[in-house]
Amino acid sequence: MIVGLGVGFLAALPRLYRIPVLQSLSKLYASFFRGTPILIQLFLFYYGLPEVLKLQGIDLSRVPVLVFVIATYGLNVGAYISEGIRSAVTSVDRGQIEAAYAVGMNGLQAFRRIVLPQALAIAIPIFANVTIGTLKDTSLAFTLGVMELTSKARSLGLLAQHFMEAYIGLAIIYLMISLLLERAFQFIERRMLRHEQPISSSKQARSFKLWQKRRPAPDASLNKGGQ
């Protein structure tokens, strides 16, 4: 996730600032990782990449599986995050940036003080979806033989011959973590968007309405939840 944030931020920059070649690269990157199933990506990285690199004389056979898994998830999440950041930043209206320049700020100051805080607030729900989606996707890493929650449950199940209990327990754990994350994100979002809430009124209802009114922008394809 952290890797994803970093990658996503880096990948979003070229397109925000329209840097020629990098811009197309970042576009290609985002559409590849968003357009193919994570399972295939895992396989490609875990089985395909070492083969390709072996031809170049680089041996990856001693790199632990976990590294591949983290790298793949990082790149995958990064693709979604970069799209999220891009759409959030472009939805901060141009007028405020001009006002910042008119006040005398330089590009960096305007970005840091005016654009970024608002873009982050807008991007929170996107981050939330991606995080929770990724959490669930971790179960796929099992296919590579990494011991994570699912595979733990499976070995436990094998030992005890109690498959159902083990999987139900697993579902509950995933659910609890998801709910917890959801709550946390809701809290952060409400705090960061407090400037969009008229003082006197039921907070939740209003913030939802404002949400619909002010930002239809972050497109639906960003919702990654479950696969």
């Binding site: 209206d93 007028g95 405020q96 001009e98 006002a99 910042a100 320049y101 008119a102 006040v103 005398g104 700020m105 330089n106 100051q109 003080r113 005016i114 805080p117 608002q118 607030a121 407090r194 400037h195 969009e196 809430q197 008229p198 003082i199 404002l210």
Partner: protein
């Protein structure tokens, strides 16, 4: 003093400003009139370089920028000498009224925070918003937002404030409060260039009126020269279209 020489601006093949020359004396209030699409907004935006002029020279006091090859520093200096009030207010939405006004002082002019706060509160009181210091833009009416916008511009203590149709996004009943604030600061001798369609206001407040059409200054002069005895046919046509019969026929 502000001096524009041969300011030219094209968007692609469309030439929007065709060589504007204008001198604005210190303390003068200039009203720019003209039909929509005549290049008024573009001219204002060229003065603080939100739009890059294709050619020409901008002088504010003793500082001159050659628009053909300005340095980053030139642009920064120019923006330091100007402030702008926007048609759509363009307040920073994640900041309170007070923070909006303080922002430029603290971030750009590096004024100490307490001092910036003191000056900002004073200005917000002056525009009648002493009781809205901690309100966010989403909690303010259009008229109140625009008054914050004016306070934000005043805070920078600029050589000139540029107003781009400051009241045309407002509901009619809110126009008055904003015009009243501008009238007030006009009395203090701050140099202002105001694009407006409020003819009565322009007549009263301005001491220099400029009529633009199709990217050139067609006619300029004292308010009475333009409103009462315009010389150019285009000016007459425009005023006839925009002012109700008889208002300025004294």
């Amino acid at each position: 003093m502000i001096k524009l020489q041969n300011i030219t601006k094209s968007f692609g093949r469309l030439q929007v400003l065709k060589g504007i020359d204008l001198v604005v004396e210190k303390g003068e209030v200039v009203a720019i009139l003209g039909p929509s699409g005549s290049g008024k907004t573009t001219l204002l935006r060229c003065i603080n370089y939100l739009e890059k002029p294709s050619d020409g020279e901008i002088t504010i006091d003793d500082f001159t920028v050659n628009c053909k090859r300005p340095s980053k520093k030139d642009i920064h200096t120019l923006r330091g000498k100007t402030a702008m009030v926007f048609q759509q207010y363009n307040l920073f939405r994640h900041k309170t009224a007070l923070e909006n006004v303080m922002e430029g002082l603290v971030v750009v002019q590096k004024v100490e925070k307490e001092e910036a706060r003191r000056r900002s509160i004073e200005l917000l009181e002056k525009v009648g918003l002493g009781n809205k210091l901690n309100a966010y833009p989403s909690q303010l009416s259009g008229g109140q937002q625009q008054r914050v916008g004016i306070a934000r511009a005043l805070a920078l203590n600029p050589e000139v404030i540029l107003f781009d149709e400051p009241t045309s996004a407002l509901d009619p009943e809110l126009v008055g409060e904003v015009l009243a604030v501008i009238r007030n600061i006009a009395k203090e001798g701050i140099t202002m260039i105001i694009v407006t369609h409020e003819m009565g206001f322009a007549h009263d407040v301005a001491n220099h009126v400029v009529f633009m059409d199709e990217g050139i200054i067609v006619e300029e002069g004292k308010p009475n020269d333009i409103f009462v005895s315009p010389k150019e046919e285009r000016t007459k046509q425009f005023l006839k279209r925009i002012t109700p019969e008889g208002v300025y026929s004294i």
